[in-house]
Amino acid sequence: MTGLVYYSSGSGNTRRFVERLGLPATRIAADTRVTEPFVLITPSYSDGEGHGAVAKPVIRFLNDPANRALIRGVIGTGNLNFGEHFALAGKIIATKCQVPLLYTFELAGTEEDVARVRQGLETFWTRQRSIGP
């Protein structure tokens, strides 16, 4: 399986990326509850000091222990204009949840980003299955 959960704000960049991936995916809403292992794709929103990087709906989603238990990796998106805080939310979640930061890309991603993530997720889930639940 290739569970994918994502958050996308009104700019819709992450949503457009996920649509181009063409994989089944759940968009985080108020009370999203997952039942299978997943990789999270999330944008980043920090200020100049790095505060507030993780979107509130993502925090609420991960504050649910049942959801958190199933996260296997995270993909961070952002804008390199934010310098050292680029894709910071992805890095924070990787640290907090002790899962790998699988990939980072900018805004809605390039064609190469789509291809690499599609290929990478396939390999990742194959490897996950081989090392057990």
Partner: protein, 325 residues
């Protein structure tokens, strides 16, 4: 009260931040105000020894590039952000636009701080004269101003996003280039603050553009998309000429153009559109990306094994109170 009045007037409304119709207004307001800065916070005078290592030609190029950026910031502060004010759909959006307009004035003012710290008055005056006489720079301004004066709010937003997310970058390239050579590093710190602000502005106006687009017909949407891509082609043409005129002398034009392609794609993404330039021409010099985003590990790819580590282990600031598992 209105019922008793013979003439029914729309009441003048006070902006109520405790009743926000669009959360993005509040989020962006908070982001912009917490990012507030002034050029005085950057120790520009530390760049004086470094400035002296540039050749006369390199110094002239740098002053001209910054003067060109000053002009765009001036346009955005006094025309661009204001032109979008009547189109605001919430009072909070108006407030955000006033912040954007003011920060553009701060940006424009910052270049003068750089000049007064590093340059001789006659060189500064020469560059401002140059900016008024340079046909490419004047054309850049004209193209954008023409659309700011158009009757269509959607076209104004497209023009604004292109200015914020694309047209600055032929200029931003140079301080990033110097920074990658360990030159003018404090100036680069200041420019990075500007670049950060422009990203928030481009995001916000692009977001408002997408919301406005939802309220028009399919046919109008198609028309606006054609307009946006046509405008990008027009702007690109003049950016290319401007770039060659500035950078041919230092052999950097081709490198700058890759940066332009890369940023053109990002500007289009801010509007919700697909990229225009293929990856074969957006392979920005890694030294420039590293200067843009120091310590950011911009090419993180765990899938292909090029990421820095399996799990990012170093502590990161997480101070949201409800982030406590």
């Amino acid at each position: 009260m209105n019922a008793q009045s013979p003439v029914r007037r729309t009441p003048t409304r006070a902006v109520n931040w405790n009743r926000v119709q669009d959360d993005t207004d509040l989020t962006v307001w908070n982001r912009l105000t917490s990012n507030f800065w002034l050029p005085e916070k950057v120790p520009l005078s530390n760049d004086i020894p470094s400035w002296a290592t540039l050749t006369d030609h390199e110094q002239q190029l740098t002053i001209r590039v910054f003067t060109g950026l000053t002009m765009l910031d001036t346009v955005q502060a006094s025309v661009g952000a204001m032109a979008m004010m009547p189109d605001a759909v919430t009072p909070h959006e108006e407030a955000v636009l006033t912040n954007i307009a003011f920060m553009e004035s701060v940006h424009a003012r910052s270049y003068s701080s750089i000049f007064s710290t590093l340059c001789a008055t006659k060189d500064i005056d020469e560059a401002f004269r140059w900016s008024e006489e340079n046909p490419h720079l004047q054309k850049k301004a004209r193209l954008v101003l023409e659309h700011y004066r158009s009757a269509d709010p959607l076209r104004r937003k497209v023009a604004s996003v292109f200015l914020e997310s694309f047209m600055f970058y032929s200029g931003f390239y140079l301080p990033m280039h110097w920074s990658s050579r360990a030159k003018l590093t404090n100036t680069a710190d200041l420019i990075r603050l500007i670049i950060r602000d422009e990203a928030v502005h481009g995001y916000y106006i692009g977001y408002k553009f997408q919301r406005a687009l939802e309220r028009v017909t399919e046919a109008e949407r198609a028309e606006i998309k054609d307009f946006a891509f046509a405008m990008m082609f027009d702007l690109y043409e003049v950016e290319e000429a401007y770039t060659e005129e500035l950078y041919d002398g230092v052999g950097l034009s081709e490198d700058v153009k890759k940066f332009l392609h890369y940023n053109a794609n990002k500007a289009l993404m801010n509007l919700g559109y697909e990229a225009l330039f293929p990856s074969s021409v957006t392979d920005v010099n890694p030294a420039i990306l590293a200067a843009l985003s120091p310590n950011s590990d911009e090419n993180h790819d765990f899938f292909s094994g090029s990421g820095s580590s399996y799990v990012i282990g170093k502590a990161v600031a997480t101070e949201d109170e409800d982030w406590d598992f």
